[in-house]
Amino acid sequence: MKQLRNFCIIAHIDHGKSTLADRLLQTTNTVGERQMMDQVLDDMDLEREKGITIKSKAIQLNYNYTGSDANYTGNRKYTINLIDTPGHVDFSYEVSRALAACEGALLLVDAAQGIQAQTISNLYLALENDLEIIPVINKIDMPGAMIEEVEDQIIELIGCKREDILHASGRTGLGVERILESVIERIPAPVGDPEAPLQALIFDSVFNSFRGIIVYFRIVNGSLKKNDKVRFIAAGKDYIADEVGILKMRPEARDSVQCGDVGYIITGIKNAKEVKVGDTITLTANQGELINGFEEVKPMVFAGIYPVETDQFEELRDCMEKLQLNDASLTFELETSQALGFGFRCGFLGMLHMEIIQERLEREFDQTVITTVPNVSFKAITTKGENLVISNPSEMPEQQRLEEISEPFIRAQIITKPEYIGNIMTLCIGKRGIIINQGYLTPTRVELIFELPLTEIVFDFYDKLKSQTRGYASFDYHPIDYRTSDIAKMDILLNGDKVDALSALIHRSRAHDFGRKLCEKLKDLLPRQQFMIAIQAAIGAKIVARETISAMRKDVTAKCYGGDISRKRKLLEKQKEGKKRMRQIGNVEVPQEAFLAVLKLDD
């Protein structure tokens, strides 16, 4: 174990984590150029485009330490596991488990950008896990590098000495060797008892269509051999270790994985749900304890997902199931809507997760879907004293039956330039936020802490934040508690018929404004029909907003020029096709875009 190091890289998106990781692989000859290409091609293309690592991975490097000490006499051969972490707030639990599998972390900061909110929150997670932090200022080759200023920020943040901060450029390779040396010198070797009962922390898993689920773990105590009978403690399931091994560019099978090391296990599990990140693997015969910090992942945002054509439901079900195989954090159950037919109520870790699922459905499974108004889950107490969890507008009890309702709050951390404080204040207070703290990290960098209702960031918070700060704000959040609140269900009616798919749970103070915007948007999106359409937003029986679309007056092309019947027939066929894709609400035909209207409300 003395020759072993486990570490990860904490960095804000685009601060150069992937580039640096690639460099580390090259420098240690872990991969050749050819393999590098393949690796790139192997990645989920979604991940590439979004610029974030969705699924954490791990890779083992072999490093020959030469050190600064010329007289060094120890063993120079080291094995280093680099564990990758996801970089978005929606996945912070997964990050915390990846961190828990390491003894140290590189805190990678872009020399031109400085520290961002996410870096800070991940850093706190690392500190909670007692990791040794090696601060690295990256991209020092950039003309805009502000090395000294970023050093100040880092010192302020973690209280290290200026000499402890490394400088590097993943692009040119400058300082990369020094990083590897520091990993050996500064990060402690794992400690653990090889003789104790097995305790292996699961920090990730991936789905492989041939092998089933491949589970990634870090052994804390004991060791794991091929063919061992193992138990996943929190899941309460037993399996045979069909294959165990370590993680090189490809998984490499071994007879055993030793204490302190990072490896994988294949047991023939087909469903990702059985593998819970944070769970502990032990031996059925000689059981250890569950490692601290395990949590069931809880979806934060809920929305309905429906096939565009009602008859594609079965196909969609198939795809959702396949998706869940490799994304255990996606939950879904059957739901029906009058407007949209059969579909699924889905739970997501956050808005980004929701977007990712939607995009994966489209890209990997060729499914175009309608997503309904997302909402968070509320807690309600009825007049009879029942406790309800409401994650769907249709579950909302009637007003008379409702004693109390509460909504989830988050603690949000925003880091920005001082000139944007005003805008952010206005934005957050407009979102019913409460300012908790405001402090200068450096003269040019302010940290703002707010408590905000989660439901308020579900809609357009990110976009607004970005536009209000010209992109100079980073944002991070974590849930804190539930607070009593005046939440109501707002319905949309078309010619008096309720469109269940457009109902939303919102704060009553928002109803008028939100209702008006939604009605206006729908007015734009609904095509005129042969009769007048009344669009209403209502809370209970009370109408809070209203728009009308006058009847279509003209639907004819005047001239059938020179006998061009074909063109005209095709136009009408297209018109018919368009109508076929619409959903019928009462007598009103509603195009798909209308169901997405609510996601695109602006002022």
Binding site: K559, G562, G563, L571, L572
Partner: protein, 385 residues
């Protein structure tokens, strides 16, 4: 019996709303005429087996009146040689007011034209200017009077309504002028903004107000009322005629008779399930014809597509859609029983709403709702995949 359409793809000036195929560079006229004559002489392959008895010939465009008499003559001669043109055939020439003189009228008469279609569009100068037409209102009225004097009693004019410059009052004046001039056939077109026209561009740029449906609808009703009050029959969405004066040529399009189209962009139909059309490009058309290469594209209609055409064209006219006839001719129920039953139930709901009048096995769009006929027709289309 079949019809012939000749497309003359030249205009002296481009009207802002127009998306027909034409060119304003007229130096190819001679070569074009020769090409059209050659196309008639050789007949494109799909046209070989169609009925050669011709009861209508229609020179459209573009602006056929830009051709001189010899040019018109050579095309007509080609038709007479290749086809059996019946004794009382309707032979129409589209002419723009600015091309009409007494001398030309006499010439056309002599060539055998017995019907004129005059592109008047409006009797208001402000309107004509807005459309970028080449003539003015005085010319329009004068040339109509002259045409009557030259015995063109079958005379039709085009009017355009629903332009932003046309008030309700002016529309009525236009109609009154036409009626007072003794015209017995009028084609009235609602201004349509076609893609890639100057009008489309101006509207997108915000230089011109977009077309207002409500105004068009109002115009439509004013016009329908006025013309029917004055003895016209609203026999097709855009066409009004005094009894006995319907356009025979255009009626053929709706009733599904075969027609030959010659000239660039001209469309043809074999009367059954084949349509073809020439390339809409003057130079490519002439090059192709001269090299005896095909210049057309063919479409073979499926059973369902043909049925949909019958629904669409039938519903445009007061003759309406003969359900039994359509069903017998095409076998709609036999081929796609389910789709046909859906059709029947949609039809029934339109009848209940009063938008379609149904008698003697015939569905006719209530003339009041004819402004919605596309939507109604497309609802009634058989759906098939």
């Amino acid at each position: 019996m079949a019809g012939i359409y000749i497309h003359i793809p030249f205009c002296t000036k481009a009207c802002h709303y127009c998306n027909f195929h034409f060119s304003t560079s007229t130096h190819h006229i001679e070569r074009m005429v020769a090409a059209i004559v050659q196309e008639i002489n050789t007949l494109p392959f799909p046209a070989q087996d169609i009925d050669k008895n011709i009861e209508t010939i229609y020179f459209g465009g573009g602006t056929p009146s830009v051709l001189n008499n010899e040019q018109l003559q050579s095309i007509l001669n080609a038709c007479y040689e290749k086809f059996l043109v019946t004794e009382n055939a309707e032979i129409t020439l589209e002419a723009n007011p600015d091309d009409i003189t007494r001398e030309r009228l006499k010439g056309w008469r002599q060539l055998g034209f017995n019907r004129l279609s005059i592109g008047v569009q409006s009797f208001a100068d402000s309107d004509l200017k807005w459309m970028n037409r080449a003539h003015n209102s005085a010319t329009a009225a004068d040339c109509i009077a002259m045409a009557y004097e030259e015995r063109f009693e079958h005379l039709t004019i085009d009017l355009i309504y629903g332009t932003p410059t046309l008030s309700n009052e002016q529309l009525l004046i236009n109609l009154k002028t036409a009626v007072n001039l003794g015209i017995n056939h009028i084609s009235c077109y609602a201004l349509t903004v076609e893609e890639n026209t100057a009008l489309d561009y101006f509207i997108k740029k915000g230089k011109i107000a977009p077309v207002n449906e409500e105004v068009q609808d109002e115009h439509f009703h004013i016009m329908r009322q006025y013309l029917t009050d004055n003895g016209f029959e609203h026999y097709e969405i855009s066409n009004f005629a005094k009894p006995g004066h319907r356009s025979r040529h255009n009626s053929n399009y709706w009733s599904g008779r075969p027609y030959y189209g010659f000239g660039p962009s001209a469309h043809s139909f074999n009367g059954d399930k084949m349509r073809w059309w020439n390339i809409a490009n003057n130079v490519l058309y002439m090059d192709g014809i001269e090299k005896y290469q095909p210049v057309y594209e063919v479409e073979n209609l499926t059973q369902e597509e043909r049925i949909n055409e019958i629904i669409m064209t039938g519903l445009r006219t007061t003759d309406g859609l003969h359900i039994d006839e359509a069903n017998n001719k095409i076998g709609a129920y036999k081929t796609t029983p389910e789709a046909f039953l859906t059709f029947i139930s949609t039809l029934r709901s339109y009848i209940t709403e009063g938008k379609i009048i149904y008698k003697n096995n015939t569905a006719i769009i209530n003339s009041e709702h004819r402004f919605l006929s596309d939507g109604i027709a497309s609802d009634l289309f058989l759906s098939y995949d």
